[in-house]
Symmetry: C2
Subunit: 381 residues, 2 copies
């Protein structure tokens, strides 16, 4: 099936010379209109002009998007496959998402479901530097699930956040990350916060993971501040930073591990693709996402797919640690470990923080639960 509708045989452009992206969209519409809609998406995401007006053979043969499949998926829902040329991406993560979903994101009837990428493109982006093994090694963990909590609420001064971190460390937690709403606010500026929390955790096995914010220069300065304070792991929000900037940071800082936060990711790009493939490919060592049954509406199946995708063998990239979160509690730990296995980081924020004066003890209980699960079930250590 052709992007344009000019009566040519379906196979006429089937053999592309260059590597291509095969993009899978989920499109809402009726059966009569879907072929036209698919063709329109193929044009919108490639040449964005009337195909009949293109006289260049290379553009017609290689660059114009090509509809390669339309499969009904349910009532008024279709899976549409579109082939795009790999050269259009130019090795740039921002341009990648522009090609995959840029203008089409403005259409409420289309969701970006998945993509097959040329192996050289994936390898060129490089993926996690540290991944599952690196994040375990940082905290001296064997093959068990990692534990994590969050510093919040924003509005507390740096000293108060450092106190919370100290109590979480006292409970033996592996990682303490900033809430993603902690930026460079006056009430706990980044430099002051990093200094205070790093000092509070010095000598403990707990790793502090500050959240980066601002433009690329600002994030670079913040990484330098973190490194100078002895930290080796940071968090960033790729959809706010811009994917190309997130990628630049992971490449520039091979010694630093990156947790990717899902904020601003929206609902129209499939989370397994965005977190498990794209964020991972750009260098995320761990990907935070909302677990099912918490404060967000992700389904059991979506969560299983995110974790499976982040951990799957994929063009030789390291595995990124799935971090299901968003309203979790200690009571859910056994169920989550049954569901996800131990190649995971368990993140409990509010449910620990609300224990107030019992924070260290509650944290220790969470940590024990995670470690004893491994021992109890005879999981790999």
């Amino acid at each position: 099936m052709q992007a344009q509708n000019r009566g040519e045989p379906p196979a006429s452009r089937g053999d592309r010379v260059h590597p291509f992206l095969e993009v899978i969209y989920h499109v809402r519409g009726d059966a009569r209109g879907i072929a036209g809609r698919a063709a329109a998406i193929a044009v919108e995401q490639s040449v964005e002009m009337p195909v009949a007006a293109i006289d260049d053979a290379f553009v017609r043969g290689e660059i114009v998007g090509e509809v390669t499949g339309i499969v009904p998926k349910g009532a008024d829902l279709f899976e549409v496959r579109i082939r795009l040329a790999g050269e259009t991406v130019a090795g740039d993560a921002g341009q990648l998402v522009n090609m995959l979903f840029g203008n089409t994101s403005l259409h409420p009837d289309v969701a970006l479901h998945d993509v097959e990428l040329p192996p050289a493109l994936v390898a060129g982006f490089g993926g996690p530097r540290h991944g599952v093994e690196g994040l375990r090694a940082r905290v001296g963990a064997a093959a068990r699930a990692l534990t994590c909590s969050a510093l919040k609420p924003q509005g507390l001064p740096a000293a108060r956040l450092a106190e919370l971190a100290a109590r979480l460390a006292q409970g033996g937690i592996d990682y303490v990350k900033d809430d993603h709403a902690l930026a460079d606010q006056a009430y706990a500026p980044f430099a002051e916060r990093v200094a205070a929390v790093a000092a509070a955790l010095r000598g403990s096995a707990t790793h502090y993971v500050p959240s980066l914010s601002g433009d690329l220069d600002s994030m670079r300065r913040q990484i330098e501040i973190a490194r100078n304070a002895g930290l080796d792991t940071v968090m960033a929000a790729p959809m706010i930073a811009g994917l190309a900037n997130f990628h630049r940071l992971t490449r520039e800082n091979p010694d630093v591990a990156f947790l990717a936060h899902p904020t601003l990711a929206g609902a129209a790009m499939a989370p397994p693709l965005l977190f498990g493939k794209i964020f991972r490919m750009l260098g995320a060592d761990a990907v935070i996402f909302p677990n099912h049954g918490g404060r967000f509406g992700y389904s059991v199946e979506t969560c299983r797919d995110i974790a499976a995708t982040a951990l799957a063998p994929w063009h030789g990239l390291r595995r990124a640690v799935p971090v299901p979160a968003g309203g979790m509690s200690q009571a859910r730990v056994p169920e989550m470990l049954d569901f996800y296995g131990v190649d995971i980081m368990l993140l409990i924020g509010g449910a620990l923080l609300e224990t107030g004066p019992r924070l260290a003890a509650a944290t220790a209980g969470f940590v024990r639960e995670v470690r004893s699960f491994r021992a109890g079930r005879g999981e790999a250590s």
Copy 2:
């Protein structure tokens, strides 16, 4: 109404000391659940933890989001107003969108509709450097609508794009922008493209507007290349670049005018807010958006609101030029000028390019149509 539900009187936190953001969401749900849903959004977008567990008076009084209004807007649709503290933004455009919509963007039942911002925050971001008057002055236009076309398809070599630009210039067009899919691809690298197109337009009144791509460093290099080629206007995609990086570029380059492209803006942030307020506030001199009746589904009302918002007096910012686009043609020019008035840039891409050998003449027809409208109707000159 409180973010938390602990039986306190509604007015108990009504008097905030610091300036605040009043964020307006459109939330789908039923009447019985809306109060709880609104309270949950207020918490998610501020402290992201159980409010009962917060013992700090400043955080409880200033930082916790507060639901200030819930108004039914239709069947299962509510307008929810939430007040957030201005300090949370820290003057950072990335953090602004994180506070407005970050985690809540993951919920498919919520759209970000609008926001009232503290005047000092808006003024601090600074807005357009050039705006309506500056983009007119660049091309020596009186108070008439501006004309624009696009170089595409991607895949053409730089020399072919330069030929197209030359013919558009021959037709007397004001601005020729890159298609937003033109990045730094091998078939027409940015530097080569800028050199070729700038050379082709030298001596004409037409201004070339290359599209920036990549990370912040890459975009800076591209601006330098453009400036060295004698150009003074560029295009960028704020949602792909990252809002903080887009803002950094407009502040660093006061001599350069910026067209903002809507790619990757999605459907869950109201376009009048995103384009007319946020992009403008961050320094966009012109905002491109899909006009009604073209390839995209924006309504007549949405388009009117985008243009009105971009041009409205707002905390002393310059006006940004509305650029309705996406499948326009010369036939629609009179109707669009009737609808939008002359403080506008008319962008016709594909419909001009498909005239092939008649491109210069077709462009001249478009330009004449725009200029004669002004004369014919006695609009301000």
